[in-house]
């Protein structure tokens, strides 16, 4: 869903305010305090208010989380978000065009099924694209990162490329 200019400015300001911060600044759930886990989808979902499925929500990871009023639900799985987006709204990400704001996904080619849906293979990542910046959760640095899209692509092409081709997608935001 396209965002208005004012909404985008508000989103960018919000994202900028979290750059270099850890996930526990975003979420107080058990997952938000586990720095060994991949927080990419968790971070994006909190920023954009995505809580698609109870099965993949930080709010329902444990019974204690579900009772904690300080914990707001957010989707923690990349494939859950990707598969919620209509296939007509998923496009290959190229470096040559100034893309509209939205989400950026990366995974291994083998993790995309014939029907276009994403599988549950671990090598997958998500960020928010506000050209030319990608805001995402860097699991190496364990903090929110703001990187040029070229840098983002280079990093994940290298990290995920050991087991075959890597694919990048851009999509619109979820409604």
């Amino acid at each position: 869903m396209p965002m208005g200019r004012a909404d985008l400015a508000e989103l960018q300001a919000k994202l900028d305010s979290f750059v270099n911060k850890r996930i526990d600044a975003v979420c107080q759930s058990s997952l938000g305090n586990d720095f060994n886990q991949n927080q990419c989808a968790h971070f994006v979902s909190h920023m954009l208010g995505y809580d698609i499925s109870r099965n993949a929500s930080c709010k329902f990871l444990t019974f204690d989380d579900s009772r904690d009023d300080a914990v707001e639900g957010a989707t923690i799985r990349v494939d859950t978000i990707f598969n919620e987006i209509h296939s007509s709204l998923r496009h290959p990400l190229s470096n040559t065009a100034c893309h509209t704001p939205g989400l950026v996904f990366v995974t291994q080619s083998r993790n995309i099924r014939q029907d276009g849906r994403m599988g549950s293979t671990p090598a997958k990542h998500i960020g928010i694209l506000l050209w030319p910046w990608v805001y995402h959760y860097s699991n190496t640095r364990n903090q929110v990162a703001k990187e040029h899209v070229d840098h983002f692509k280079n990093t994940f092409s290298r990290v995920y490329g050991g087991s075959g081709p890597v694919v990048f997608y851009r999509t619109e935001f979820l409604e």
């Binding site: 058990s30 997952l31 586990d34 060994n36 886990q37 991949n38 927080q39 990419c40 989808a41 968790h42 109870r54 099965n55 993949a56 329902f60 990871l61 444990t62 019974f63 204690d64 579900s66 009772r67 923690i76 799985r77 990349v78 494939d79 859950t80 099924r113 599988g119 549950s120 293979t121 671990p122 090598a123 997958k124 990542h125 998500i126 860097s138 699991n139 190496t140 990093t155 994940f156 990290v159 995920y160 050991g162 087991s163």
Partner: protein, 168 residues
């Protein structure tokens, strides 16, 4: 663990459990972990014959067993570049009450979960345990876990409460 306990495990499960237990020296315990035999927790999961509900999206196909899920996780690990690999066991001490029954009444659990919990009296001590296998190397990081309610002895789990957990 006792030898009599091991004897109840079939060969496939024993190999699986041995693989997981081999990772235990690097065990990372959450602060709120209560006193429970974590090896036993892994063993009881490894010998459980149960199909996760399709609503939990645990595998590429609609339904996958606990054993297949654990095996797939170990295969993924074997294919991965060497990273920071951990097996984490987290158990939260709880008591059976209506709010706990309500938690397991959601659409991601089978109906039998509520029926099984209804058989337990209010106030019955119980643990919500999650065994998580994770790997992290640079930006490549993932975790796959299994969660269930397990009784105070750590030897009996309530099958309807089994759940897989995947990130990212």
């Amino acid at each position: 663990m006792t030898s009599s306990y091991i004897h109840r495990i079939n060969l496939t499960s024993r190999a699986l459990i041995a693989s997981l237990l081999a990772l235990l020296p690097g065990l990372s315990l959450a602060e709120n972990v209560r006193s429970i035999d974590h090896s036993a927790t892994i063993q009881i999961l490894g010998q459980t014959d149960y199909l996760f509900p399709k609503e939990q999206a645990c595998g590429e196909n609609n339904r996958i067993s606990v054993g297949e899920f654990l095996t797939d996780s170990l295969i993924l690990l074997s294919e991965d570049p060497a990273g920071d690999t951990r097996v984490t066991v987290r158990c939260d001490a709880l008591k059976v009450a209506d709010d706990l029954r309500s938690f397991y009444g959601s659409e991601i659990y089978p109906d039998v979960a509520v029926r099984q919990l209804a058989q337990l009296k209010d106030g019955t001590p119980i643990h919500q345990c999650t065994v998580t296998l994770s790997n992290k190397q640079e930006e490549y990081a993932w975790a796959r876990g299994i969660q269930a309610l397990i009784d105070e002895t750590g030897e009996r789990l309530i099958e309807g409460t089994l759940r897989c957990l995947l990130t990212p």
